[in-house]
Amino acid sequence: MDKKKILEDGLLAQYLLGELSDDKEILIQKGLKEDADLRSIFEGLEEEFQNIAFENAIQPPDSVKIALSDALETNGETSKVRDITVLKKSDTFNYGRLAVAASLAAIFALSSFWFYNRWQASEDNLKALQEQTFALQDRLSNLEQTFEVTSQRYQSINNRNVIPLLLKGNRIFPESRAVAYVNHTTKSVLVNSQGLPPLEKDKTYQMWADVDGIMINMGLLPADTDLIPLKYIDKAESFNITIEPAGGNDHPTVENLISNVLL
């Protein structure tokens, strides 16, 4: 992914906010690693978001820190310092007992070492598992968000009150297609503009509703987009799409009408 696309699509902000899919995150991370300029822009972005957060900080009550401390003390491993007893040198020094004690100490040391290694290996495994769980949780969270958006879109067009209307292109753009989903009950309009050919940068599609011969602005229509919510206009007799200067127009340019459909 090139730097221009990353910057133009605002992907750095989305990356910072944790909105991107895993594969896109990897591409951004690669870009940040390889491009010092991009990295510097990202650092500026991080700084700005952190400043916003600090300016909007709300001091939590002390009880949260106390509860956090209690939770960590209860679940954490609190190490206890073992008491060390110094043996007094006996007058009747018994070499046999010393040898037994030394053997026991050696066995104890070896078993401790073995247990320590096992413990370390388990710790590493646990840490790896925790990392995996964390990554999976993030992934699940992203999937749930995507699923929610898709479900909402599906619900909004697969509804018996919704009337789908095909806007075929006229002689200017005979190959263009757009579908408007109108719901008169909830007074909403969604438009799928995936079939509209891309325009030059200084132009945009704009949709209009015809009410008693007056064209009323319904909003801008970016090309190649899934579902765009537009303004619902009461008593509209037809929907019309025109090509207008970027940013939209107050009145439709009729000679640039590329499609219309009667309701």
Binding site: Q14, A53, N161
Partner: protein, 188 residues
């Protein structure tokens, strides 16, 4: 990445299991994270629990933080945001049972209340710039959700975010310059 050296020191201690290092990071960042969590869930008792849960996750997962990839705060923010979104998702139905009218009601419900009012330089921006940052940063919405909430195309919404960040930077530079001038003339 430009991570704060004091943070790096605390994180190294945290990796060795030093709880005091976590408390130092808590003292520094809990206000910023609590501000985000409280604005997202708008319920103080829940926000307190979620802040605690976020710091326990920081404690348990500090091994997965990579300073090369960004600031500690960015990483902690994502943990707090995901923890809050997961908690909110558990308490609300995943799928909307009605059509867009429900979605619109949901947006109306996102009106800010007293403690969620924006402060600092952000509050000086134009309303649509404030709202764009508020939705993605303090409400935890994705760009795709937020542009619908504002009823503008995704491209325009991204421009709002870009313009808002640019204006914030400009305003901050102006303020820094002003403070410098006051200090110079005040001492001189």
């Amino acid at each position: 990445m430009a991570a704060d050296p004091k943070d790096i020191e605390s994180i190294n201690l945290l990796l060795q299991g030093d709880k005091n290092a976590l408390y130092l990071l808590y003292d520094k960042y809990s206000g910023a994270l609590y501000g985000v969590i409280l604005r997202m869930c708008r319920e103080e008792d829940l926000a307190k629990d979620l802040l605690q849960e976020s710091f326990i996750k920081i404690w348990k997962n500090i091994g997965s933080y990579d300073a090369e990839k960004g600031k500690f705060y960015t990483w902690a923010y994502r943990i707090a945001k995901n923890t809050t979104l997961n908690a909110l998702r558990k308490s609300t139905p995943l799928i909307q049972s009605e059509d867009l009218s429900v979605y619109e009601n949901k947006n109306a419900d996102l009106e800010v209340t007293d403690y969620t009012a924006l402060k600092g330089i952000l509050s000086e921006l134009e309303p649509h710039h404030q709202q764009a940052i508020d939705l993605v940063y303090f409400k935890g919405q994705t760009h795709r959700e937020a542009h619908k909430a504002m009823n503008v195309p995704l491209g325009s919404f991204k421009s709002y975010i870009r313009q808002a960040l640019m204006k914030l930077r400009e305003r901050r530079s102006e303020l820094t310059l002003l403070i410098l001038l006051i200090e110079v003339f005040g001492n001189g």
